[in-house]
């Protein structure tokens, strides 16, 4: 796993916006994760070098944030909101349904590497609770029946 030249260019472009390159750390992690799915130790090291930081400095930042993955995840991460409004309106039913349907517990990835199931805090759509994100897409007013539809669409097992 190494950085592509596109990624390197994108990172350097971001870095130029700031008084010093390490300020682009989060942008850089986002850029790389978008294409690689997660941040491996090797990638972390390369990004750190590019930004003139030690790997430890960058990891200190990477491990702080919820959306940076330092372990492999599936091609699509299912983030189900477990905050208050969704919790009240059935987030747990959805979670159970997903776990059963995909055969994974929270934090796990399906055998075919397609899905990882993770909780997430309020997605800012409480009026359409329960809400979940699959990859980049947000789904509203989700219930187990709708989940079957959605996962059907996106090619679930």
């Amino acid at each position: 796993m190494t950085l592509t030249s596109d990624e390197i260019q994108a990172i350097l472009r971001e870095a130029r916006h700031f008084p010093h390159p390490s300020a682009a750390a989060i942008e850089a992690l986002n850029v790389v994760q978008r294409s690689h799915g997660w941040i491996s130790d090797e990638l972390l090291q390369e990004i750190a070098e590019l930004l003139g930081m030690s790997p430890a400095e960058l990891d200190s930042i990477a491990t702080f944030y919820n959306l940076i993955y330092r372990r492999p995840v599936g091609r699509r991460v299912i983030h189900y909101c477990n905050s208050v409004s969704c919790w009240m309106l059935g987030a747990e039913d959805n979670r159970r349904h997903l776990s059963e349907k995909l055969g994974i517990a929270v934090g796990e990835t399906t055998g075919n590497g397609e899905y990882t199931l993770l909780p997430i805090v309020c997605l800012g759509a409480c009026d359409k609770a329960p809400v979940l994100m699959i990859g980049d897409e947000t789904h509203f007013n989700v219930d187990p029946a709708r989940l079957d539809d959605i996962l059907g669409e996106t090619g679930a097992p």
């Binding site: 300020a23 989060i26 940076i68 208050v84 309020c122 009026d127 609770a129």
Partner: protein, 427 residues
């Protein structure tokens, strides 16, 4: 009824294009500002308008700006930062504005930046708002192409470079000084105040952080004037407010209404009232970090002062309703888990006090509670209170708990009884 902020927002969820925005009188406020007002005039107007920050704390916007060093001796670089982190459970108003009418925000940003003479602005957007990010990026490009952003805006001498930062996710990033650290590519620990960001903010330079909704008010204030703005409200606090309702109501949602509309009106007229079979037991008027209010408070105007007097906070103005079939203790547990997980880990009371709170509530619910636990919870509410912690996260976290202990004491005590005699009040 005037709905300046949401007038363009379409019900089908699509966004407002630049052409549409211009056709609706968009960027008129900016034009007028650049043509007619000096930066300090803009500050004065906003001060006169009485606009208060919509990020939750309700700090007067014009007053906040006035702490920025101005004039010849002021530092060359200053920043304006848009707080679009919106991660507090129950809050979903900024998403509406960001997705629905991004140009309105951009116009507000340019006006605010002009007022404090900042030449670089950032939108700090929570990472999960992918649609908002795409639309905002598009809108920024359109605005740049039309000379509404960039060098010499609308032929004036004022330039502004507007950049979009998408966050990697953490509630604490919404706290304005933590946000600045995050924008600098660091861990989002909050900073001590003083020094205030207005003096030493992003990269040590004078910086203003304003909420999305706050900034969206500016084009209208500048275009239509202070008196008009004050006239929008039903109470002494000016303007409109985007109120929201989530929970077991017939039609949850967000509506722009005159400041000071009552919760009863919002819930009953706009949200369609409680769903069949459910009664309102209490509500968090301004999001997860505000104190519970009871049905008896429903007729209080939803503005900063009135809600404050009732013992809670207007916060973001987005209500979360507790119904009679939901256990308040479990609801509070859900909230506290959120806050414990989202603590940045910097100060002791928050980092270690919230997990203890969670473990006490879990123990209670799982039948391991002891009578003294309620006193411990109360003690934690005090220990994690305002001033005791490094930032406002933990005190906010304690608001629903302390008020639940006050209003729903019986529900807590019920868990101290043996399981068999507890009775099946909730599902």
């Amino acid at each position: 009824m005037d709905k300046p902020l949401t007038r363009n927002i379409k019900s089908d969820g699509s966004t407002v294009t630049l052409a549409e925005y211009l056709a609706s009188g968009g960027y008129e406020g900016l034009k007028k500002t650049l043509a007619e007002f000096a930066p300090l005039d803009v500050q004065q107007r906003v001060k006169d308008s009485g606009l208060r920050g919509r990020g939750g704390a309700g700090f007067p916007t014009g007053l906040k700006w006035s702490f920025v060093p101005m004039g010849e001796d002021a530092p060359r670089t200053k920043y304006l930062v848009v707080n679009g982190d919106e991660m507090e459970p129950g809050a979903f108003k900024d998403r509406l504005l960001l997705e629905g009418d991004p140009h309105q925000l951009i116009e507000g940003v340019v006006i605010a930046a002009y007022a404090i003479q900042a030449n670089i602005a950032y939108v700090f957007l929570r990472g999960e708002y992918r649609l908002a990010a795409a639309r905002l990026r598009q809108a920024i490009a359109e605005a740049e192409a039309q000379g509404l952003l960039g060098e010499g805006i609308l032929g004036s001498g004022f330039s502004l470079d507007l950049r979009l930062h998408t966050s990697a996710g953490r509630y604490i990033c919404g706290e304005e000084t933590a946000l600045l650290n995050s924008l600098e590519g660091k861990r989002a620990n909050p900073r001590a105040k003083p020094p205030f960001p207005q003096v030493s903010g992003l990269f040590g330079k004078p910086t203003i952080v304003n909420n999305v909704e706050t900034l969206c008010n500016l084009p209208h204030i500048l275009r239509n004037g202070v008196e008009w703005y004050k006239g929008l409200s039903r109470t002494g606090e000016p303007g409109t407010k985007i109120y929201g309702v989530s929970g077991r109501v017939r039609s949850p949602g967000a509506w722009e209404l005159p400041m000071g509309t009552t919760a009863r009106e919002i819930i009953e007229e706009h949200a369609g009232g409680m769903r069949d079979g459910y009664r309102l037991k209490g509500y968090l008027p301004g999001g997860a970090s505000t104190d519970f209010l009871l049905p008896e408070h429903l007729d209080i105007p939803m503005d900063y002062g009135s809600i404050g007097k009732a013992g809670s906070r207007l916060g973001t103005g987005t209500m979360i309703l507790l119904d009679d079939k939901t256990c308040p203790v479990q609801m509070v547990l859900n909230l506290e888990r959120f806050f414990a997980q989202e603590s940045c880990g910097w100060c002791t009371p928050c980092r270690d006090g919230l997990p203890w709170t969670v473990s006490l509530l879990e123990g209670l619910i799982e039948g391991r509670g002891r009578p003294e636990d309620l006193a411990t919870l109360e003690r934690l509410c005090g220990l994690l209170g305002p001033g005791n912690t490094f930032c406002a996260l933990a005190p906010g976290a304690m608001e629903p708990l302390q008020s639940a202990l006050k209003y729903f004491r019986a529900d807590f005590e019920r868990y101290l009884q043996p399981q068999t005699t507890r009775g099946g009040m909730y599902a």
